[in-house]
């Protein structure tokens, strides 16, 4: 359960770590494309492109659909980016709270120090 988010983020980042795969995503952002189209555009073998598409598919970044003999690829962003974005927003919200809380804790510490030294006087 602890690995819930991490495993999915790992898959996504691994998929995005390759320049060709990022290029494929950019391409698919413009229009859907078959694996053959993509292989031609990136001057790769069909097998090589298939491998990249599988990685993107497993990370949930691309979905593919086979119609007849042609496999069409499209951007298939799943919940992952949404969730990563949510975690980022959630963290920033708590960070800004905690920065303020740091100040309060610091003030309480100082106050205690002053009160303490007064008592010792």
């Amino acid at each position: 359960m602890v690995q819930y988010t991490k495993a999915r983020l790992d898959a996504s980042f691994a998929a995005l770590s390759d320049a060709t795969r990022r290029g494929v995503l950019e391409q698919l952002g413009r229009s859907d494309a078959s694996i053959t189209d993509l292989a031609e555009k990136f001057r790769m073998t069909l097998t090589g492109m298939k491998k990249h598409v599988v990685v993107l598919e497993q990370a949930g970044l691309v979905t593919t659909e086979k119609v007849g003999r042609v496999r069409t690829c499209k951007l298939g962003v799943r919940r992952l980016e949404e969730e990563a974005a949510w975690i980022g927003r959630h963290r920033r919200r708590w960070e800004s709270r905690f920065d303020e809380l740091d100040n309060i804790v610091e003030e309480l510490k100082q106050k205690e120090k002053i009160d303490g030294s007064k008592k010792r006087e």
């Binding site: 952002g29 962003v77 974005a85 975690i87 800004s96 709270r97 804790v105 309480l108 510490k109």
Partner: protein, 167 residues
């Protein structure tokens, strides 16, 4: 007080971590440079709590803050934003001084049960905020996950622009 703070070197900020433990749980952790006793006080005294819970960057203000931080006690917070108000309320299920707070978020049936623990670490405090939602659906409803789906493509666009620029 302000002058004193400015004259001291700014200490390094401690790291905040957020983890989705499961489909209905979120855990936030942070270290504070003070004993649990004082951090706990800042969470339970309304006059302290209201100074940090809604920082300016949230774009809201805290209009009212009532905390009866005792087991079985209630709390009520009223936020103001551009002329409208929002109310949050619930009950403290457990209040164990300097170590543990548990409260409900009763403004919606999807509200989480929040558990905050304060652990003394030699003058510092490890703070853990754990939100447990009644279900995966409740979590999503509370955080607008379903509605946010439309934004996903925009986010990917942003990501690709960033990646493109760094190449």
């Amino acid at each position: 007080m302000e002058a004193r703070r400015e004259s001291e070197p700014a200490p390094m900020k401690n790291r905040t971590t957020v983890e989705r433990k499961s489909e209905r749980e979120v855990v936030v952790t942070r270290i504070f440079n003070g004993p649990a006793r004082l951090v706990f006080e800042a969470w339970t005294k309304p006059e302290l709590f209201r100074q940090w819970w809604v920082p300016k960057s949230m774009g809201m203000s805290l209009l009212s803050c009532e905390l009866d931080a005792r087991t079985g006690g209630r709390y009520r917070l009223v936020y103001g934003h551009e002329g409208s108000t929002m109310e949050f309320h619930g009950k403290y299920i457990e209040v164990t001084p300097h170590s543990r707070l548990v409260w409900t978020n009763a403004e919606s049936e999807n509200g989480a049960v929040t558990t905050v623990t304060f652990e003394d670490k030699g003058g510092k405090t490890l703070l853990v905020v754990h939100d447990l939602y009644p279900s995966k659906e409740a979590f999503e409803a509370e955080h607008g996950m379903e509605e946010a789906m439309g934004e996903t493509f925009e986010q990917l666009d942003d990501l690709l622009v960033t990646l493109g620029a760094s190449r």
